[in-house]
Symmetry: C2
Subunit: 358 residues, 2 copies
């Protein structure tokens, strides 16, 4: 290796613009920048996982141009430095975004730890242990994924089937196959078979391993990303790849473009209390609750009510005698729906948008 610095480069993917936590999340302020689980946003909690400078270098951040100020501000609040904030000039999904980060690494052998910025991990020690356990494999050119131990037959996640244990490895496996989001029967079948893990979208590999895989399986994407980075605009810590050149990259996820095709793909199972906070129901699951199993935040007075998720935002909410509701206020908007139905949020947001315009 040409670099003496063996420390891991955190690559924080912050391009998401989820509407699944409407009305709190929005295109202007997506989920990762909200402090839904405590005083710090999920973006900041992701930064917090990488503060150990003996193990991590400064993070590389990849996000959308419209969130440049948010990222810089939340980074500054965290008191952390960054190698670069790479601003995607247009959205091309995760495979090209990670290509930009790989090209921004100082050395080809740098180890990248790619993490979405909008997940919650309850136990950082267990997470760190899984990373440490995977470092050697990544150095040996494995593309490492991290698999979450399933707690139920979830149909909202992709699954990873482990294959043989990697020789000499302490709990990592080669990947036998990736399984797209299953129906319930398939999810249950995988659970009972065992050896399947949720795909958390967290990866570790050398920059040159990833770029080599791109060259083999997605050469147009690699050349578009390379050309865009060569013509990038650089101001302070912001790096803005050339838009016209980057737009030539096919839009694809790292799973489809690389992981499902490459041969030397590993999975390190872990159980660090991971949640993708993909819905109000899943936020309820990881939230602190009162004795009546209500998860409330903000100015809420609640009595004779059970199992409610109430987020008051800047409003004041008074509830009595109501069970199993999700009540979310943000700005001047209040959303009410039954618990277990938060997959309907996108539709509700659209109906609300249409009715507000009419």
């Amino acid at each position: 290796m040409s670099s003496g610095d063996m420390r891991v480069v955190p690559v924080i993917l912050s391009g998401g613009s989820g509407t699944r936590l409407w009305p709190v999340s929005s295109d202007e302020k997506p989920k990762q920048f909200l402090n839904l689980t405590g005083p710090r946003s999920m973006f900041q909690l992701t930064l917090d996982r990488c503060v150990d400078t003996e193990f991590f270098r400064n993070p590389l951040i990849v996000g959308g141009t419209r969130h440049a100020d948010l990222m810089e501000q939340q980074l500054r609040e965290s008191g952390q430095n960054t190698n670069a904030i790479i601003l995607e000039p247009c959205a091309r999904n995760t495979a090209p975004a990670i290509a930009l980060a790989a090209l921004a690494c100082e050395n080809p052998e740098d180890l990248m730890l790619v993490m979405p910025s909008d997940h919650v991990i309850a136990n950082n020690d267990l997470f760190r242990k899984a990373i440490e356990q995977s470092v050697a494999h990544a150095h040996e050119s494995w593309l490492v994924t991290f698999g979450i131990e399933p707690t139920g037959p979830e149909t909202g996640y992709g699954y990873i089937k482990q294959g043989d244990a990697i020789p000499g490895a302490n709990g990592s496996f080669s990947v036998e196959k990736f399984v797209e989001k299953p129906d319930l029967a398939n999810a249950q079948s995988m659970l009972s078979q065992g050896g399947f893990h949720w795909n958390a979208g967290i990866f570790m590999f050398r920059a040159d391993s990833y770029l080599a895989a791109l060259e083999e399986f997605a050469p147009e994407m690699l050349s578009a990303a390379t050309d865009a980075m060569n013509a990038a605009d650089r101001q302070d810590s912001f790096v803005t790849p050339d838009e016209t050149k980057f737009a030539l990259a096919p839009s694809d996820s790292i799973d489809y473009a690389v992981m499902e095709k490459a041969n030397k793909v590993a999975v390190t199972p872990m159980n660090p209390g991971w949640s993708d906070v993909g819905s109000w129901d899943s936020l309820y699951d990881i939230s602190k609750k009162d004795d009546a199993q209500n998860a409330v935040s903000g100015s809420v007075s609640i009595s004779e009510s059970r199992n409610n998720m109430v987020h008051a935002g800047d409003l004041e909410i008074a509830i009595k005698g109501v069970d199993d509701l999700i009540v979310v206020a943000e700005g001047k908007t209040v959303m009410i729906l039954p618990k277990g139905k938060s997959q309907d949020v996108k539709q509700i947001a659209n109906e609300h948008k249409n009715s507000s315009q009419s």
Copy 2:
């Protein structure tokens, strides 16, 4: 009679400060001044019942000093004149308030039609018919009450039992007795017996009949009201009785102080679609509803939901998959409770107030 003007003097009681429609109603803006049932407030709808200048004189209004501006403004919007707005310097319930109005009448023989300003009457023609039918009795010194045909065993209203038909009368009866708010069994018993009516708090009598009854049954109240009016401050249409003198009046309702004691009390049954709008549930009952029996006002998008009462105020509310809820927003406050439970509103308001202060 000394006066040639036989027209009825509407006396509009506007001193109520109900909190039963919290968070929309407040001490600053009680129910009668809100436009909950349409573009006009219940105070204005009450004025609207008296616009026929062939039958009515200008109304006398009795209300609280803190609502002087509201009353004047809503009166002006209605384009109606008033004989006087009498401002109660302190709250002493309905009997003293009506005494102030009786003392403000130009002639002792003037016919007063006393009406709360916070009720809704759907069919004004039927109401007017009941009034016309009672004019002769009132002229003959009867204290006339108006009884509402019960539609169910309501426990929230007082009842009036009719006695004999008044000789020569077309549907009015002497009152056999007043019944205080009953329990359910008594309410059901009265319904099955027949001849019982809800006490709507609407009355018609000559000013001198009322004052004579006060002299007989509540002489302290009469002298306090008389002294207070003699020392009243008069500015434009506002009449403010002397506070110290008025404070000497015992606080009592017209029912307790006069009606239950007087002998010549009549009841004219009517069925004009009356509601006291005493709760969100009762407002729901008289509101227009969509095909799914939702009564909504303001910016509300609602789907797959039935039997809800949703009042958005200045907020925007999106609801999906929820049944039988009352959702009321006002300013920055949102209240949520099950339908049929709106008697809990006062308690919710208190809990909310306490939790906001803590």
